[in-house]
């Protein structure tokens, strides 16, 4: 029998830091934080993306509409002068041939030509929104300049409602996308890498409880989740005034459930693959459709009605719906329940299958 060699405290009396679950979770943090790229893609990139989109799609006062006027004739010159007086228009004087080209390349939204007998011809592409709006703006200036009066008096009140801008739409989408990517990349790569390096086999050759190994991924995901959500929400609230109308607690709960669910999906994707190439393929296969279909950058209602049942059943669509309802509409628990149920069902399904087929060696 071997002589006992400085045997240490048993687990019951063991300080919390020396417990395997704590140690495994610490490993997750260490591996993540020591990988600068991962930190960038998880924390910095989504914020940069939100800022970029926020700037590109910021709501600016309507630009003057650029119109081409064919000059060189007396009536043409006078038309140009009359239109130039309107503040809503910027007039480019040009010959007939340059006008045709300018219209084709989109330099001008519309070309106005003064015809004989005081008539005016508008040339524009009515499939383009600028073309249609230019037609009304120019016509308004022409008719008003000629003395038209409105039979009905109207008044205008301009509003820019926070919550209805593009940035308000896209921030919950980015949040959802980040939660999905974090769960899938975070679990998928680390697990397959450990399997490829024979580390998984080495770990299961110790008394390590397998559930703790998997739980360590979920725990670390939750901590990173709080940081990610805090970062994205904080920046977009501060920079763009994106609102959170519903309860913050509910928002966090939605994120939490989504993170669990996508963690399950990540686990399922990583459950058999032996190479990182193999698992990357699977991850893209799972994520790509959701990036496009699930309403991250534009509403999923743009897709045809026949595809809707499928799209609405995707976990990212459900997550985004729940996030938008909570943030933008201030919806309560009852309203997000159906979406949450879809997200949770995915999570449970994935976990059950993943644990069944998981390859430990």
């Amino acid at each position: 029998m071997p002589e006992p060699m400085m045997r240490e405290a048993t687990s019951a009396r063991r300080p919390w830091r020396q417990r395997s679950l704590v140690q495994l979770t610490l490993v997750r943090f260490r591996e993540f934080l020591r990988e600068p790229e991962a930190v960038f893609w998880t924390f910095v990139f989504p914020v940069l993306l939100a800022v970029g989109l926020g700037i590109a799609f910021r709501n600016k006062p309507a630009d003057a509409v650029v119109v081409g006027v064919v000059t060189g004739t007396a009536s043409g010159d006078s038309l140009a002068t009359r239109l130039a007086a309107s503040p809503a228009l910027r007039v480019e004087r040009m010959s007939d041939t340059t006008a045709a080209r300018a219209l084709r390349t989109g330099e001008v939204a519309l070309v106005a030509t003064a015809g004989a007998a005081g008539g005016i011809e508008y040339r524009f592409d009515d499939t383009r929104p600028e073309g249609r709006s230019a037609r009304f703006t120019v016509d308004e200036a022409v008719q008003r300049g000629a003395g038209r009066t409105d039979p009905v008096r109207v008044s205008e009140r301009r509003v820019q409602e926070k919550g209805s801008r593009y940035i308000d739409f896209v921030v919950p989408g980015l949040l959802g996308m980040n939660i999905m990517a974090g769960g899938i990349w975070g679990l998928g790569f680390a697990i397959v890498e450990a399997r490829r390096r024979n580390l998984l086999k080495r770990l299961v050759s110790t008394p390590m409880p397998r559930a703790e190994y998997l739980a360590s991924f979920l725990f670390s995901r939750f901590v990173f989740l709080l940081l990610e959500v805090g970062m994205i929400l904080g920046c977009s609230m501060l920079l763009f005034g994106v609102p959170v109308r519903g309860s913050l607690l509910q928002l966090l709960a939605v994120c939490f459930i989504a993170a669990l669910s996508f963690g399950g999906l990540g686990l399922l994707i990583a459950s058999r693959a032996k190479t990182t190439e193999g698992v990357s393929g699977l991850m893209n296969l799972a994520m790509m459709p959701m990036w496009v279909l699930s309403g991250v950058f534009f509403s999923s209602s743009n897709f045809p009605a026949v595809a809707q049942p499928f799209i609405q059943a995707l976990p990212l669509t459900a997550t985004n719906n729940a996030l938008r309802a909570t943030m933008l509409q201030g919806a309560g628990w009852a309203a997000v329940m159906p979406s949450l149920a879809i997200v949770a069902a995915w999570g449970i399904g994935c976990f059950v299958v993943a644990l069944r087929i998981f390859r430990w060696r």
Partner: protein, 312 residues
């Protein structure tokens, strides 16, 4: 005092993969406190055997009893008492040496002090170094540290010194000798003869998934019946030499030729050498190269299989 059960008892083990039979009816008993070596060429089935014993691979048939227990009924208890070094494990590169050993320590209810184990494998200076930055030898020693931090009764070491320079190998040997001296049972695989001769109380020579010889290194070498090995080449006309005539020479026990190179197993060098030189002279042959060494386990393997261990 009751007699300790054998550290490991394996009977009728078989494991086939799609196209090969990796283990083909293998029996072994490793006594408590013994250092036991599995020696064999590449693909002999050593890793497959050891991983079946470690409860990591399921055999097609056969029984495995470890420390008197079986994997089916006592997995959890067994894992607490075993220390394992796999043939190939790349530990997490981003962790430091200290963090890695600490992690493995946390899996065991009882075990050794982390710092002490790191010192034992002489990585004290590297506690804060990242695993990815260690040399091959340092990684092997770290793997050993992870294997012993749970203070195991039985250690499985799969090629613990492969790829190490001679100095690192010697350091690792010293560690294994110490572990053995402190009463641990050790099963190791290797294809280095000198390693097996130096470390192991008993050795099983494995080929094609079977044990083809078993005993202490000394017994195995003695079983050759020849203490020395003479290797020589001749100038032109070497093919004229005859195996049976060489074997009949005084003091020669066996003779083999491969690619123009002759190998003689020799009982007594002082008698065999004059006889060999006389024979060559009689045939008018000139001696090319000549080398002699004391018989080793390598020669045992060659004598049993007709192949060299290293390139079998």
């Amino acid at each position: 005092m009751t007699l300790a059960p054998p550290a490991l008892r394996v009977a009728g083990l078989r494991k086939a993969y799609d196209d090969v039979v990796a283990v083909d009816g293998l029996d072994l008993t490793v006594n408590a406190g013994e250092c036991f070596g599995l020696l064999g060429p590449n693909g002999a089935g050593k890793t497959t055997t050891i991983e079946i014993c470690e409860g990591l691979t399921a055999p097609d048939s056969g029984t495995v009893e470890v420390l008197g227990m079986t994997w089916a009924s006592d997995e959890r208890a067994l894992r607490e008492r075993l220390g394992i070094q796999l043939q190939e494990t790349q530990l997490a590169e981003k962790l430091t040496v200290g963090e890695t050993v600490q992690l493995f320590r946390s899996f065991y209810t009882t075990g050794r002090d982390v710092q002490e184990v790191i010192d034992v494998v002489q990585l004290g200076e590297k506690v804060h170094a990242r695993v990815g930055k260690l040399s091959g030898g340092q990684k092997q020693r770290l793997a050993l540290a992870c294997a012993i931090v749970g203070d195991p009764e039985l250690l499985f070491l799969d090629e613990p010194t492969t790829g190490l320079d001679p100095q690192s190998r010697r350091q690792l040997w010293d560690l294994i000798v110490e572990l053995r001296a402190s009463g641990r049972s050790i099963v190791l695989t290797t294809h280095y003869m000198d390693e097996a001769e130096r470390l192991c109380d008993r050795v099983a020579i494995v080929d094609h998934g079977r044990v083809i010889a078993l005993g202490s290194p000394r017994e195995l070498i003695a079983s050759l019946g020849a203490e020395h090995v003479v290797e020589f080449t001749t100038g032109a006309g070497g093919h004229a030499l005859d195996r049976d005539e060489l074997r009949a020479l005084d003091g020669v026990k066996a003779a083999r030729e491969q690619d123009g190179r002759w190998t003689l197993e020799v009982v007594e060098l002082a008698r065999a050498m004059p006889a060999l030189l006389g024979e060559l002279g009689r045939r008018g042959l000139r001696l090319g190269e000549l080398a002699t060494h004391s018989a080793t386990l390598e020669d045992v393997f060659v004598s049993l299989t007709g192949r060299q261990l290293r390139d079998a």
